[in-house]
Symmetry: C2
Subunit: 266 residues, 2 copies
């Protein structure tokens, strides 16, 4: 999906919500465990329940890999089920030397119809650039993540700035705002100003609103740009809103609530 | 596999060679493409051809994921075929927030019988620690990689040291030399002294000897410790030594040559 198509979707729905599919067999409603492919069955119902309120889905590959070959198949089915109207992010945190990154790109951009992959930037330019060679596909580079461990390296001082700022500055010219986004967590909203100084035009994928405690208003205050420029992810607060028969309706309610909160900004 | 068992294997074979399985359908002998599972068939023959000369195998997960569900199955079969006498490294470069990293650990430590996973440390402590909670299993943390992009961040100055030194210092106490190793590339052997100052007792996984130009003698000069403490990886120089009918024999020759070069150090 191109940047202009993504913006069009956001404006049409007045939502920049991304629903994270961290699908956990220990958390999904028990009655789904009897189906032939519970991971997919749960995702399918969540997707149907939320698609009108969100513009993106973000399956977390770890939750599928944990079930081996079968889990990988559930992931493939999920991505195919989502379809072309939503921006699909493989939350895979990949990144390796050139010829290997190219293989990861093929896994998610060709074998699966994903639009984007999350990438760990530690290994530098040649580990990221192979993801930028696919028309209409995106690399979403980790900048400042929402977890406590972000303080260990991402927030360390490196030549007068923090490592995540160095990552933004160095990587923003590897591609462009048309094929690169950044992960910036909602749990440290005061740092969005620093991010926007370096990458005013890039889309940011923002985890940490909801279960992790980040606030949508705070993120929007400093993170919005003229193209919206934000995809706000919520996973657990939507997909596990209920563990009962009503899980899909409750997911709809939560997604709708978030989308309505977003309307004022679009 | 425990540290003492790994050391025992190294001493018995007088080799600390790791064979990297970067299995690429475009590079394996053409006649294998007609078999039912070419990725596995190639790996099987390479494993049989090299197992007496190496102590570890390192399947590169990207090359399997690129073929989706079927590739994942080839990876599973490969890991199971290697067996318990070799140290098995899932070269997967994973790492994410705690509950997600735990799922990656389950994927490779429980669904597959791998001994170790390579981990990108960018996200900090809570992205790495979940891998350290599995008895006899290892996290192999990226420190200084062998690619050109290592200069972008890993070698940047951060408070008077390089980022990879900061990673070593910060992470060495998350676990111990019994469950943590580090990736240190052979392409910058002069930096092994800096590494050994910080982690004298940890095993180092060393890519970059062979096709990437690093030298075994240089790495051993500064990298060896009293327990050997090195796993030297070679991928392409062994597995693609020939693309003909004799690929397995040529792989044996290359592995044997490297193992013989290692004998003097064990």
């Amino acid at each position: 999906m191109t940047q202009s198509e993504l913006i069009r979707q956001i404006k049409a729905k007045r939502s920049f919500l991304c629903v994270g599919l961290d699908t956990d067999l220990e958390k999904i409603p028990k009655f789904l465990l009897d189906t032939e492919d519970p991971l997919f069955e749960f995702n399918k119902q969540i997707i149907d329940a939320t698609r009108q309120y969100c513009v993106a889905y973000k399956p977390n590959t770890a939750f599928f890999e944990a079930y081996g070959e079968k889990g990988w198949r559930s992931l493939q089915r999920t991505v195919e089920y989502i379809g072309k109207e939503h921006f699909i992010i493989a939350d895979a945190k990949r990144g390796d030397i050139g010829n290997t990154s190219e293989r990861y790109a093929k896994a998610f951009f060709e074998q699966m119809p994903c639009d984007a992959i999350t990438i760990a930037p530690y290994m530098g330019s040649d580990s990221v650039k192979p993801f930028l060679n696919f028309e209409g596909k995106w690399a979403i580079i980790l900048a400042l993540t929402s977890n406590p461990g972000a303080e260990d390296f991402e927030m360390q001082n490196i030549g007068g700035k923090m490592l995540f700022e160095k990552v933004l500055e160095t990587s923003k010219n590897w591609g462009s705002a048309e094929n690169t986004m950044y992960v910036v967590g909602a749990t440290r909203p005061e740092l969005f100003q620093a991010v926007r100084k370096i990458v005013p035009n890039h889309f940011l994928l923002v985890p940490g609103v909801g279960a992790q405690g980040g606030s949508l208003a705070d993120v929007c205050k400093y993170g919005l740009n003229s193209n919206i420029g934000l995809l706000i992810n919520a996973s657990r607060s939507i997909i596990y809103a209920s563990a009962g028969q009503d899980f899909a309706e409750k997911a709809t309610e939560e997604a709708k609530k978030m989308a309505e909160e977003m309307q004022q900004y679009v």
